[in-house]
């Protein structure tokens, strides 16, 4: 089995990858070749060949584990004794988890609103500026890199050196404080505002997404509406308030809800910047800690279920708004 599962040397890894891809191509090729006889193969066999592999994977990897996890959330650490709602009671009453829930709420309130606001301002401004392409690319760039990379970039901005003579700050934010005559701060350690400094990172990432979508929506506002408003004497802020914002309302809602879903599941930033210490943990990070570090499977499952339940209404609203904005068009 070594050629199949081995991961010791670089060659072995590359060969393993090539074998996996080849295997996949051959299996799918054989299946498709077998059903490629229009009149002799019953239709259900053809259907099974096309949707079967995908549905099998989904049943094995999403549906079945989902049910197992929901069941596990009513069991104890080891998954052997039924404990009813105890895990959920812990998650909603224990002081440590109340901080987690509070942080998650702050994230979900702040990130979508701030990122959408910045994105909207930027979309409006950039529409009338020179260097439009370059400016857009620079703001969108954080969206391309990993959240791990983004976290390290910002960790460096927040870097703290003790306030002693002869020690220079190397983090930009603390240097700015020093220039202003304020003593440097431990941004990532001082509670509770450290959560805000983590939130800044996700806002920085998501603004580019909001800007791109909203800029497209603004461009799609019909010229005659804008022209008519201008003839009526609307300019600047009035135009923004009475024409731009109402016209792109559906896009605004889609952006807000989409970012909210991303925010609810945020994990990488907290993991990389603080590891969830210093009172910065959120539900997705606590799920990882409980499931894979504390080996408390029951509580971990309960946190995953809480995440699931929190996502449902946002997704539902998101899809409804997408449908509505379709109808408008």
């Amino acid at each position: 089995m070594d050629w199949f599962l081995g991961t010791d040397t670089a060659t072995q890894k590359l060969v393993g990858m090539a074998v996996a891809i080849l295997l996949f191509v051959v299996v799918m090729g054989v299946i498709l070749l077998a059903v490629d006889r229009p009149r002799r193969v019953p239709r259900w066999v053809v259907v099974a060949a096309f949707v079967g592999p995908a549905l099998l994977l989904l049943a094995f990897g999403l549906v079945y584990p989902g049910i197992v996890t929901i069941r596990a959330s009513f069991y104890d650490k080891a998954g052997s004794t039924f404990v009813g709602l105890d895990n959920f009671v812990t998650a909603f009453t224990n002081e440590q988890f109340l901080i987690v829930l509070r942080n998650t709420a702050v994230w979900v309130l702040l990130v979508p609103v701030a990122a959408t606001a910045f994105g909207l301002i930027y979309a409006v401004v950039v529409d009338k500026s020179r260097w439009e392409k370059l400016a857009k690319a620079l703001v969108f760039l954080p969206m391309a890199i990993s959240m791990v990379g983004a976290s390290i970039i910002w960790k460096f901005v927040y870097e703290f050196r003790p306030d002693q003579p002869g020690v220079n700050q190397i983090g930009l934010l603390n240097q700015l404080l020093v220039w202003l005559g304020i003593p440097p701060q431990q941004f990532l350690i001082t509670q509770p505002q450290n959560t805000i400094f983590l939130i800044v990172v996700l806002i920085w990432i998501q603004t580019g997404f909001a800007m791109t979508l909203l800029a497209a929506a603004i461009r799609a506002i019909p010229d005659d509406i804008v022209e008519a408003a201008r003839l009526d004497g609307l300019t600047g802020l009035g135009m923004f308030r009475y024409i731009t914002v109402p016209s792109i309302r559906p896009a605004l809602v889609v952006v807000l809800t989409t970012i909210a879903i991303t925010t609810l599941k945020v994990f990488d930033i907290v993991r990389t910047m603080t590891g969830g210490q210093f009172g910065t943990s959120v539900v997705a990070n606590e799920f990882y800690t409980q499931s894979f570090r504390q080996n408390n499977a029951g509580l971990g499952a309960a946190l995953a279920v809480i995440l699931f339940v929190l996502v449902i209404p946002i997704v539902w609203y998101n899809i409804r708004q997408m449908r509505l904005s379709e109808d408008v068009r």
């Binding site: 990858m17 391309a144 960790k155």
Partner: protein, 316 residues
């Protein structure tokens, strides 16, 4: 695009590729915009763009500075030093990060590549086939199944992880690349099937009918009619999936167990950030080693990239 219930895709399309027939109109629009271009707006846009870039620039500059300099002074002093001719640059940090025995990011880079390629090819192929059946083959229960697959998008991947991990352990593949390939493929499927189905639905029925009259079965129609027309959609989703897998931390962390044999760059770099938090020479270089591929993709394929990212932004 009237059957596509995802405005992000259409918006991105509209932004990325102005329809050729309305070139006259868009030309006039551009001229008009130029006339309206407002110095204040340009100023604010420029300030915001610079503000958004400074954090990245700071770490990039740092990654090229000698270790001692990094510890002694802030990266911004480099601008003064450049004028006075005292600025020092070196590639030592990259060498240490890539080949140093304690960091060894080179081998993690390889892991990232080995993880990413199959995790892009497998789900897209399976999703294309399934999407074709949902769009063009009549069978009982089709609509119900399609809605069910669509609805699976709301499942957070966290909820599947512990059971999946124990399934991998009992199958004897735990700690191999197979766990990550399979998991990424599974997690990508609902969105991929949904999006590709929408693109397939937009292909005129007359084309499919004509092929059918010529005696082509579903397999031939799929390969000869559908695939060539779907290349842009596949490229857009492919890039999105590529970046999603390359940038992922959670899936890799859980299923590879962070072992050096199979863990990707993100896992290792995140680990370094925790264990060697103050070691900025290695961290800054490491961060950019992990970001160079996404950055190249972003700069080179920006149009497809934006389209794919917007189409897939709800995933996770």
């Amino acid at each position: 695009m009237s059957t596509t219930p995802t405005p992000p895709v259409t918006d991105a399309d509209a932004a990325a590729t102005p329809a050729p027939r309305s070139r006259g109109v868009s030309d006039r629009a551009r001229i008009a915009r130029k006339r309206l271009s407002n110095p204040w707006a340009s100023g604010i846009a420029l300030v915001l763009a610079v503000l958004w870039t400074i954090p990245t620039l700071g770490l990039l500059v740092t990654s090229f500075r000698p270790e001692l300099e990094i510890r002694r002074s802030g990266w911004w002093t480099i601008f003064g030093d450049v004028f006075s001719g005292e600025a020092q640059f070196s590639l030592d940090n990259y060498e240490t990060a890539l080949f140093g025995s304690s960091t060894n990011l080179g081998s993690y880079f390889l892991n990232s590549i080995v993880i990413t390629l199959p995790a892009v090819i497998i789900p897209i192929t399976l999703a294309l086939l399934a999407a074709y059946a949902f769009a063009w083959i009549e069978f009982p229960g089709r609509d119900f199944l399609f809605v069910a697959v669509f609805a699976l998008q709301i499942i957070p991947i966290q909820i599947t992880m512990i059971p999946l991990l124990s399934a991998y352990v009992s199958a004897g593949v735990a700690g191999t690349f197979w766990t990550v390939w399979l998991s990424h493929s599974i997690f990508a499927l609902p969105l991929a099937i949904f999006l590709l189905h929408n693109f397939m639905k937009d292909i005129p029925a007359s084309l499919v009918e004509a092929a059918r009259v010529d005696g082509a079965g579903h397999v031939k129609i799929f390969f000869r009619v559908m695939l060539p027309l779907l290349v842009p959609a596949i490229a857009a989703f492919g890039i999105f999936q590529f970046l999603w897998v390359w940038n992922d931390l959670l899936v890799a962390l859980v299923f590879t167990g962070a072992t050096p044999d199979v863990a990707p760059l993100t896992v290792r770099v995140a680990e370094l950030a925790g264990s060697r938090g103050g070691d900025w020479p290695v961290l800054s270089a490491g961060a950019f080693i992990s970001m160079v591929v996404p950055l190249v993709v972003f700069l080179g394929l920006q149009r497809y990239f934006v389209r794919g990212l917007l189409a897939g932004s709800v995933k996770g």
